[in-house]
Every structure is written in structure tokens, then in C-alpha cells.
Symmetry: C2
Subunit: 375 residues, 2 copies
Amino acid sequence: MNPKIASFLATTPATPCLVLDLDVVAANFAALRHALPLARIFYAVKANPAPPILRRLSGLGACFDAASLPEIEACLSAGALAADISFGNTVKKPAAIAAAHAHGVPLFAFDSREELEKIAVHAPGSQVYCRIAVDNIGAEWPLSKKFGTSLARARGLMLAAPGLGLQPHGLSFHVGSQQTGTAAYELAIAQVATLFTDLKNHGLDLKMLNLGGGFPVRYDQDVPDSAHFATEIMRAMTTHFGNDLPEMLIEPGRAIVGDAGLIAAEVVLVCQRLEADPRRWVYLDIGRYGGLAETEGEAIRYPITAATASGPSGPVVLAGPSCDGVDILYEKSPYELPLALQSGQRLLIHNTGAYVTSYASQNFNGFTPLAEHYL
Amino acid sequence: MNPKIASFLATTPATPCLVLDLDVVAANFAALRHALPLARIFYAVKANPAPPILRRLSGLGACFDAASLPEIEACLSAGALAADISFGNTVKKPAAIAAAHAHGVPLFAFDSREELEKIAVHAPGSQVYCRIAVDNIGAEWPLSKKFGTSLARARGLMLAAPGLGLQPHGLSFHVGSQQTGTAAYELAIAQVATLFTDLKNHGLDLKMLNLGGGFPVRYDQDVPDSAHFATEIMRAMTTHFGNDLPEMLIEPGRAIVGDAGLIAAEVVLVCQRLEADPRRWVYLDIGRYGGLAETEGEAIRYPITAATASGPSGPVVLAGPSCDGVDILYEKSPYELPLALQSGQRLLIHNTGAYVTSYASQNFNGFTPLAEHYL
């Protein structure tokens, strides 16, 4: 285990808590910058908006992808320049657009005519980029039909932007979160490249391609490292753009913070539930509503180990502490824990630095959100 | 619309917000007491733990079903007597059991030997009741296999309780939340009655049957009223217990607060997403992570109306404001809203007094939890 985290855990902090090593955040950022030196890295704040993370990344020269006005203001408070912030949510209230514009945020996402018109009114003269809907093949947390538009509609909207007083700056796509393959990038880059060419032939010279986020973290399966993604992304970019590469943006969140932290949890109860099922049920003091929302459908399968119990293992079902029957973490996935495990002992839920703390419910069943420790 | 809520909404409070009429809470409590005069009513605090609700119900003589130590302490702060509180979660930390016992809480739930032993150590001499797993047929938010034990195991545990220094007080079951039929009650009452008789024949005279919660609220379908449930429950009780009725407890949550409140939300964007799908996507400033967690799987389908827009309607998909692709409220359920609906206008999400505020994430995507107004 990470030695800084191990020595902090030796102080037996109250559970549940997230313990995160900021040096790992910095190392992940450096590895991505090394792997994709041509790309500007916009950290996806929603993955973990903790001020110590934002301050550390800001000090390293990161840019920031914000989903809301409070996220923009958190970045500014952490020392980020407004010029280095993108307002990446394609669904924004007019007041939030106006406030971001007043702060000096230069770059706004959209994927519909209505949103483009809102940006034109409330952030006149801004740079805008249009999000294209692409195939999420290979993603473990895909993004569905909620975002993005077609190439044909994007073409019309980008051509309309100058007439609305906006700067048509670029295009974006998102291949889905926890994306474990490179095929989706290759498909998406090929598609958007045709629109770059098409628009250039109509006098519109787009400057930027935002490749989104989605770079994976190792949970229960090995995943390719960032260098592998970088190689394949650059190969696709060169194939489809030749020497005329646009500025590239990436929006990693999970890949920056996911493996930097773990959750320490207490076992509240161990029991066998049904005569017909030999598995033990292990109830923790954190569940789906305490932050582990991405266990919905057992989509994200965190590695889980016993902190102290050892010896032979057997199969378990893992559940949260609330009275809600849906608050089950893993019932189908084949988890095993020591047969000697008892209530009062601790488990470690690994690689939980991303998409945990901010999901936690404010007080479901009376439980307070997990504590956070940044080392 | 409820006139108190209507006049509050006329002040245009910031959205998203819950607006709840405490007089409706009181009327729902009175109706249940009238329908089931033999039952003690333990309000399920987890449905909505707001202090104004707890104070109002405490003043009316309600008892309280608590899922955690913080819920117990909220009830005590609201004026409840410890003697009127049940610690109904079958999964509790030892420290929480000890603190509840120290506060004077007399009654503890369990459904496993491990939990019974924890209660014996940390709340010696307490009254305990064992939760039986029963069929959740007819429930729209069923409680799965997470809770409850078999009649055979319950029998052994109740017989063991006196030897552990505990008072074997009764049995409980739960037919599932938003239970729209009475068949599950009839089946469950018949089952537990056999165990009452069996234990009596072994010298153990149980005093109490806890019928749990689950009474439904009208969402998209009409549901039977509490008088109908009461009639069928009493018929089953008399059939299976004769004149020797145990003390009856019920634990309504949704039925007390569900229809007492509504959420006012703002439309952030209206757009047509895919060429092939004529439905408009309507994005609100509240979604699955802002409190509407029970829309998972479209299980609970709240009535939704436009606050001001009118005229002919057409089909819509409803989604939340976050960048998460899973944050979609209704994609398959056939919702319709006015064709004239535009961003900036308001929607009302009805019957959202239960299981909303406490589910809200603390700051997912930077959004603060919905405001709450109790009238």
C-alpha cells in the first residue's frame, strides 16, 4: 500500500473516510502530460472537487473543466486563472453563463441551438465548441443519449455561431467514462475530422478538438496505461488530420484522482442471510448513498481488501448501512473476503479517489457524508 | 393545488426547492390513526427527517422508527420521548446501540444472531424484535434480500434471547415500499401468526407485531387509501390471531409525508436530441443526484406539471442538470409537457415529500442540495 496512506490509516481515523495522496494526483497529471505533450489537460472537477486537489493541480499548470458555476468558483479560489477554465456542461442556467463570463471564463460547450443562443446572449463574444454524440463502445460507465448532437446539426450550428456574435472555436466528443479501449477514439476522431474539413471548405477554420475524458483506472481488471491511449490517439489524429493538427484538449478526471485514494470502512455486521445461499452478507458503514454511487448495476467494481483479517476467504455479498433494500454494493460480482472477518473490523475500498465524495447524500438514513483526508 | 403551497410559490423561491405543508402531514397522521386505532404509529424518520416534521408529529403523539443514532437524536431534539422510539435498523454499530440505550430507547430490531449478541452486550435488558423476510409482491420499491430471516431461524433466536438477558418482545416484517396491494400483508400475517402460536406453546408469549411501512402514495396511478389497507389488515389479524391480538405497530413514512410536498424546479434546456426521436429533452435543475433518487429504473413516477406554460402537450424525456449520463429521470415512461415549454420556466414535481431531501448528494457536479420550506 501507498506508504503515506498506510501511516495515516495507522492513526485509526473514524470511518467511513476517504484518504487520498496528493502526490499520486501530481504523478498522474505528469504522466498524462508526458504521454500527450500536445494536449492541454483540463481536469474534470466533478471527479473530485476537493480544494487541496484543485490547488495542487493549479500549481502544476493544469486547466479545469467545470460542470457548474460553483465548480468554476472553486477553481478560481484554488488559484486557477479564468482563462484556463472551460464551462463544459452543455446544459447551463443563463445566470451561470453570465457569471462565468463575468469571471472571464472564455470557453463554453453546447450541443443544441437553444444553448448556443443562451451563450450568445449571456456570454457575448465567447469561444464555443459543439459536442458531437459518438459511440461509447468499450466504456464501463457510458454516457447514453443525454449529450451530444449529430455531425449534420453541429455543422449548421457552427456555421451559425459567427452570426450570433460568437467564436466557433472547436468540437468535442466523449467516449464514455472508464473507457477501456481505443476503438471509440479512433471512430470519433475519424468522424469529427470530416467536419473540420467540411467547415474549412466553407471558410470556417476550427482551432480546437476536445477529446473529452474517460481514461480508465484499474478496478477489478487491468486497463491500458495512459501511454497506450496517447499512442493510439496520436496515430488516429495524424491519420485523419495529417500535419494540420488542431489544438487538442483532454478532460481526465478519474485518471487523475481515481487511484490516488482509498476508503476505510467498518464492517457493521456479518451474517448468512438465506439458508439456501452459503454466502455471507457483509454490511459496511458506507453504501450506495454514502458515496459509492457508481456501484449501481455493479458497473464499477472496486478492489476491496480486509485491513486486518486474514486467512482463507469465501464469497460475500456487500451491502450498505441504510434501511434501503437497493443499498447493495455487490450481489452478483464474485467478491471474496476472509472467513474470519467480523463486525468492528475494517475494510479498504481501493481506487476510490474519483466520483465518491461529491455523490454522497447529505444525510440519508441520518448518516453524515464520509470524511475526507488529503495528504 | 394546496393553497398554502400555492401562495408560497407565488413568492418565486429559488429553485430547486421542496415546499411542504405540515398540516397535510398532520392530516395523514390523523387518518392513519383513525383507520388503525389499535396500532401504535412509528413514523419512519428516514422518509423525511426535517425537524419541523418531527416536532409536529411529536406534538401529535406519534412514535418514531429510527434508522441510525443521528435520527434518534433528531427525534429527541424534536421533543420525542426515548420510550416512543424504536431503533428499527437491523444493522447497527455497537457504539450506536450503546448510545441509543443510554438515551433510554427501549426497543431494538435484529434479524441475525450476530446482531442479537451485539444488542445483548451494548443494550442489556432491552426489548428486541426479529424481522422476518416476507414476499414483497405488489411493492413498487421492494426491499430485496437485504433484510429479514426465516421463520425457523427467528424461532431459534427468539428462544435464545432470554438467555442473553434480552426481552423477546415481538416480530416484524416489511412488505416493501410503495406497496399497492393487500395480498402481501395477508400472506405475512398468516406466516408470523404461526410463529406466535409455536413460541407460545414453548412458553414464550410475544407481545408485539410490527407490520412495518410501505403504505403507498398516489404517484402516476391511483392507490387504495389507508382505510382500505386498515380493513384488510384487521381482517387478516382477526383471522389468524382471533381475539388474542398482539400490540400492533406500523411504520409509515411515505404515507405520512409523501403527498404533503412538491418540488419547484427550473427548466434549464429544452431541445430535440436525435433526428430519429421526435421527443423533446427537458433538462431540470434537479435530477437523480439532487434528490430524485427513487426515479432509478423509473420506479417512482412523480406527477409533473408546468407551473405556467400551457396549451397542447407532447412527449418528453426528463433529465437532470449534471454531466452524468445516468442522470436521467424518465426516458421510458410516457411523460408529456406543453409544446410551449421553454428554459427559464418552472415545473412542479408533485408528491415529493418523502425520500427526496435526505437522498440529495452534498455537491455532485458542484450543485448544492435543494432548499426546503416547511409551511
